[in-house]
């Protein structure tokens, strides 16, 4: 019976897990580094253990310090959150070997899914669609291999990386010269001219399916998430359901994900990621942990993933079946980052001098920072996730724009204005996007010109402002003040 959990993480996900613990009447132990001594997860937890300096390898990534902290506090289990040690099979094994429950799948499953080539092969064998390509060395009738894969395709160096030894081939005529060029480049760059062919997806969407399994062998899915809106290959906006697929495709993809999970006897929460284009989906990888964007699934399916992570790790069986899981309405998440979208998403540390969160029906704030806190450059710049739910996608977008327009955060640059502009854009509303969305529509994004009120506020704030006199005579009571409001301003 799990009565106390150590959370080997920080920021919003640590806070999220601590809340689940408190609601389940389980004690929560935080660990923290020097610079996090006043971070929200430390203040929220029942106990907090300092485990080292800011550098993650000496604190949040240190197996021994974390397991020691769990032992010292008589914790029963460790929740790794996402990032840090969450997908480290060796850590999971070390936790289990220390007679503690690791809240996640089996260490072997983590390791297997961490080997991207091996897991792709395994999935292909199990009948889960993978990106078509030749697996071994390129030989024999290359034209036939290429025809099987289909055009456009990519010739790439097996040893490659960084765009070198790589060519996109649009038609059979271009194949031979592309292979020659790539082969020579690969030889020069990597000393190895082995090439592989792979289908090229020029406008892929990133879709993923939430999986939940217990130790009794039950595996169910909680439908899909659409995570195509990314920058620097990191998601910034996610939603569920995906507006890209119909129910038939949804069923196929979700069943493929369950199949993938069952192949590896998956237990706990996990995510099967797919690329999707032209009506076809391809296995990309499996994430063996809770995802940042799990909230949209929780809102649509009405199932608390973090609580279930804890329950199944504790040996409980799922008390519902696949048929009980229904999608209802539409949910969107926006990640509020300390970064400057007008300067290539450069991180922007700073002190949070004021923060007021949006409130109301269908609005959920998962926050990892608080007023008065210094956001340092030591960790991920994620400050908060705003998650909304409404009955349909269009209403959810309007609600998100309302929520963002009431998210006050002063003291550092954030991507809040950028997120608002995406919510307002036709391209996002039409949902006809791929992972190239930000590059295609928002690569030159700049903050719009400020209204005179913005400048006036900056110049007047330092002066002692008169208090508002609220007697009738102070101004014409019947003068309708037109509040410009918020969302209407920034079209």
């Amino acid at each position: 019976m799990i009565k106390k959990i150590l959370i080997a993480n920080r920021g919003e996900i640590a806070c999220r897990i601590i809340k689940a613990c408190k609601e389940m009447q389980i004690s929560a132990v935080a660990v923290y580094s020097d610079v996090d001594s006043e971070s929200p997860h430390v203040l929220m937890a029942d106990e907090a253990i300092l485990i080292g300096p800011a550098n993650p390898s000496e604190s949040y990534l240190d197996f021994d310090k974390i397991v020691d902290a769990a032992k010292q506090t008589n914790s029963d289990a460790i929740h790794p959150g996402y990032g840090f040690l969450s997908e480290n099979g060796d850590f999971a094994k070390y936790v289990n070997d220390s007679d503690l429950v690791f809240i996640g799948p089996d260490p072997d499953t983590i390791k297997l899914m961490g080997d991207k080539a091996e897991s792709k092969k395994m999935m292909a064998e199990a009948g889960v669609p993978t990106i078509p390509g030749n697996d071994g060395e390129l030989s024999g009738n290359v034209d036939a291999v290429a025809r099987d894969i289909g055009y456009p395709l990519m010739v790439k160096a097996a040893a490659g990386g960084g765009g070198k030894g790589m060519r996109i081939v649009e038609s059979p005529e271009e194949l031979e010269s592309a292979i020659e060029a790539a082969s020579s480049e690969a030889r020069n760059s990597f000393g190895n001219d082995t090439l592989i062919l792979e289908k090229y997806l020029d406008q892929p969407r990133h879709l993923e399916v939430q999986i939940l399994g217990d130790q009794q062998g039950n595996v169910i899915h909680l439908y899909e998430r659409e995570c195509s809106i990314q920058r620097r290959h990191q998601k910034i906006i996610e939603e569920s359901p995906s507006p890209a697929i119909n129910n038939k495709l949804r069923k196929m993809m979700c069943e493929a994900a369950v199949k993938a999970a069952k192949v590896v006897n998956y237990s706990n929460a996990g995510t099967v990621e797919f690329l999707f284009q032209d009506g076809k989906f391809y296995f990309l990888e499996m994430n063996t942990r809770i995802q940042v964007e799990h909230g949209v699934t929780e809102m649509v399916c009405g199932i608390d993933l973090v609580k279930w992570q804890i329950r199944v790790a504790d040996g409980e069986a799922l008390d519902f079946t696949q048929n009980d899981v229904k999608q209802r309405g539409h949910s969107i998440e926006c990640r509020v980052y300390a970064e400057d979208p007008s300067r290539d998403f450069l991180p922007t540390p700073g002190l949070i001098r004021k923060m007021i969160l949006p409130e109301g029906s269908g609005i959920r704030n998962d926050v990892g920072v608080s007023e008065g806190q210094e956001v340092t450059s030591d960790y991920d710049p994620l400050l908060a996730k705003v998650v909304v739910w409404d009955s349909c996608r269009n209403s959810a977008i309007n609600r998100m724009d309302y929520a963002l327009s009431n998210f006050i955060i002063l003291g550092l640059i954030t991507n809040q204005p950028f997120l608002r502009d995406i919510m307002k854009s036709e391209s996002y509303r039409k949902a006809s996007f791929s992972t190239r969305f930000v590059d295609e529509h928002f690569s030159d994004w700049e903050l719009g010109p400020p209204s005179p009120e913005v400048i006036a506020t900056a110049l007047l704030a330092s002066k002692s402002a008169p208090e508002k006199v609220s007697t009738v005579s102070s101004r014409d009571p019947y003068s309708p003040w037109s509040n410009k409001g918020t969302w209407r301003q920034n079209i």
């Binding site: 006036a456 704030a461 509040n483 918020t486």
Partner: protein
């Protein structure tokens, strides 16, 4: 006295004159008349041309943080010297750190000859790498002496170039 306010990449010449709860604001060549008052919740009520806005702000040295119209703004203020029209040219020879973070790598030393686009300094902040490249061909005349792994502050000089 006029001052310059910078928001993102754009700058505005601004001036405000206040009398009681009234003010006249000049932004570049346009004038706005308005009224303002401080509300109990700490916000400002600003009325310009009959339109009311509720705004919030915080200040740190020359930076003002303003929430208005549903947007969080960061404004940098510099007072302008009257009569001064010559602005400093950005010095292409001097490369400063755009972020506060950690020095990951230094690919050169005093006297190194470099080409435009060469990566000279690698920084890390918030789990992301940032590469500072040479803005032109030249020779490094000065380079940061911070040790690898050490802290770098935003605006700190990372390296300087001179002609070959």
């Amino acid at each position: 006295m006029a001052e310059t306010v910078t928001i993102g990449s754009k700058s505005y010449s601004v001036n405000i004159r206040r009398s009681g709860s009234s003010f006249r604001l000049q932004i570049d060549d346009r004038d706005y008349d308005g009224e303002f008052s401080r509300l109990n919740n700490g916000s400002l009520e600003i009325i310009i041309d009959g339109r009311r806005s509720i705004t919030y702000s915080e200040k740190k040295l020359d930076d003002s943080y303003v929430f208005a119209d549903g947007i969080n703004y960061v404004l940098r203020r510099q007072s302008q010297k009257v009569g001064s029209v010559v602005q400093d040219e950005p010095r292409e020879d001097l490369v400063m750190s755009p972020i506060t973070g950690k020095l990951l790598d230094r690919k050169g030393e005093n006297g190194s000859s470099v080409r435009e686009g060469d990566v000279i300094i690698v920084l890390e902040a918030m789990k992301m790498e940032h590469r500072l490249r040479s803005p032109r061909d030249g020779i490094i005349s000065r380079i940061t002496s911070i040790e690898i792994g050490g802290q770098v502050k935003e605006g700190e000089i990372m390296f300087e170039l001179e002609d070959e």
